[in-house]
């Protein structure tokens, strides 16, 4: 793999790590699979590009986060107040957001940021050398990681994690679980939209379909991270998510280099997630099969 390909994967891995942290928050901490992500990602990208076009790329990032938070609130309210199950609630928001995304993009299916300033062009002017973009992404990711970790260590963070575990217990302890779910989903989707906003400025364009399949990519990063890097402490889990995202991008880059057509990307992602999710079951079955064939082998002594 060439150095530029490696650096490109690393950078993508870092930006998508923010999406993965958002997916981690809803999928693992709140225990609510959230499909809002697929449209929330595009929403962030759309807001980001529209703001960049009018000369405010940094505001674009901030507003993308807020917009994503709003989308997360909608899904959470559909679930908590209208008692629609989480998966369905996410799908409904995702569906509705598709039209809203088009509205944000003034009816166009894609917008290119031709020569407009982006956060990256600002950074390249500010920081000399080839690594301006990477430095900005790393710093932003570290800020997100620290804030998220500190948040999960606050009282609200504690009850959020407990709600995903046993919401009855949290209500018995006097906490409004509906409110907690709204807060959690808002932050989760805010992060996803922020990620979309960064990608849009990185690529200098937004396409209304660019978010499709993002939830699977987010899950792939979370799960690869868990399987490869472990889940012992909270901090370790968060770092594992980031490393999982980077590792995932590297795997994809290697696959592309080996000749995989880019259109196969989503199929490969689905296969990776399936493999990672079924690791514990596969291990169990494999060791069971091994024991079975050891017993049938006449040359081996039977256990006494």
């Amino acid at each position: 793999m060439t150095l530029t390909a490696f650096q490109g994967s690393l950078e993508l891995g870092i930006i998508y790590a923010i999406l993965a942290l958002g997916v981690f928050l809803s999928f693992r901490s709140l225990n609510m699979p959230d499909l809002t992500v697929d449209s929330g990602f595009t929403l962030g990208a759309a807001v980001s590009v529209i703001m960049s076009v009018s000369g405010h790329p940094f505001w674009g990032l901030f507003l993308a986060f807020i917009a994503g938070g709003g989308a997360g609130c909608v899904t959470a309210l559909l679930h908590t107040k209208l008692e629609i199950q989480p998966l369905l609630a996410g799908i409904l928001t995702m569906l509705g957001l598709y039209s809203i995304n088009l509205k944000v993009m003034n009816g166009k299916a894609n917008i290119a940021l031709l020569n407009k300033a982006t956060v990256y062009s600002y950074m390249e002017k500010l920081i000399p050398g080839d690594y301006a973009r990477l430095i900005f992404d790393v710093v932003l990711l570290l800020v997100v990681l620290s804030l998220l970790y500190l948040f999960l260590k606050t009282r609200t963070g504690f009850v959020l994690r407990a709600t995903g575990d046993n919401d009855q217990m949290v209500r018995s302890q006097g906490v409004n679980t509906d409110l907690v779910i709204v807060i959690g989903m808002a932050i989760s989707n805010g992060l996803v939209s922020l990620s979309g906003a960064l990608i849009a400025q990185e690529q200098s364009f937004v396409d209304v379909g660019m978010g499709i399949g993002m939830v699977v990519i987010g899950l792939a990063s979370v799960i690869i991270g868990e399987v490869v890097f472990g889940i012992k402490t909270l901090f370790r889990r968060l770092v594992a998510v980031i490393l999982g995202s980077i590792l995932y991008r590297l795997i994809i880059a290697v696959a592309l280099e080996l000749g995989m057509p880019p259109t196969d990307l989503k199929l490969v992602s689905a296969v990776i997630v399936t493999l990672a999710l079924s690791m514990p079951v596969i291990n169990k079955k494999f060791s069971g099969v091994r024991r079975k064939y050891k017993r049938l082998d006449p040359t081996k002594k039977s256990p006494s």
Partner: protein, 264 residues
Amino acid sequence: MLEIESISKTFAKGSINEKRALQKVSLSLQEGDFVTVIGGNGAGKSTLFNGIAGVFPIDEGKIVLDSIDVTFDPEYKRSRLIGRVFQDPLKGTAFDMTIEENLAIALAKGEPLGLRPGLRKKESRKLQERLELLEMELENRMKQKVGLLSGGQRQALTLLMATIVKPKLLLLDEHTAALDPSIAHKVMSLTQKFVTEENLCTLMITHNMKASLEFGTRTIMMHEGQIIMDLQGEERKNMTVDKLIAQFEKRSGTEMDNDRMLLG
């Protein structure tokens, strides 16, 4: 302390599965009362608890806790005055979080959601002391996940979490039923200790008729959504399990054929 005025609850009204779970039940408890609740399956005991706790809204009547009308309050709001231990040892704790973290959540009961640290160093010391009261060596395992504990240890922890901030009312729903006898005995003595020390107003459902007379100061018996017997004072002191069964059969007009209650 607790005033329940003529509350009723019917499930699946109008349908073929209609169940009149509570029928104009009234009950009055003073601070420090320890009341045991007995009755057969479907008598309405757990429904009564769920109604008090606010898991569902009642169809009619009033619930007043510590002079506050909580009839229309959502569950989480009432929980600030109530401590609950469930029959299922898995229901009272968050199993993927540590003992320390679970207790920290319980310790902050009543506080508004905010960004203050979930667990402060000062609190950690206090939590350790409280865990020592359980005499289960849990104070050495504070950073372990609750999922690793046995059922009895989890129930003891849930009991601690229900009382660490003194509740106005303690609801115990057959909390030792799922435990083996020796650990059940341990949890019951812990219960007695906490209730006596803090003078807690307590309602305890038990299927064990002997235990229902042994613990507490008052016993009520439920059948088909109503309270059919309320034992206090001298009458309760002189009551035996056999006499209790006879009374039940007389008042409910049915035979006592519930093995769990007879043999338990």
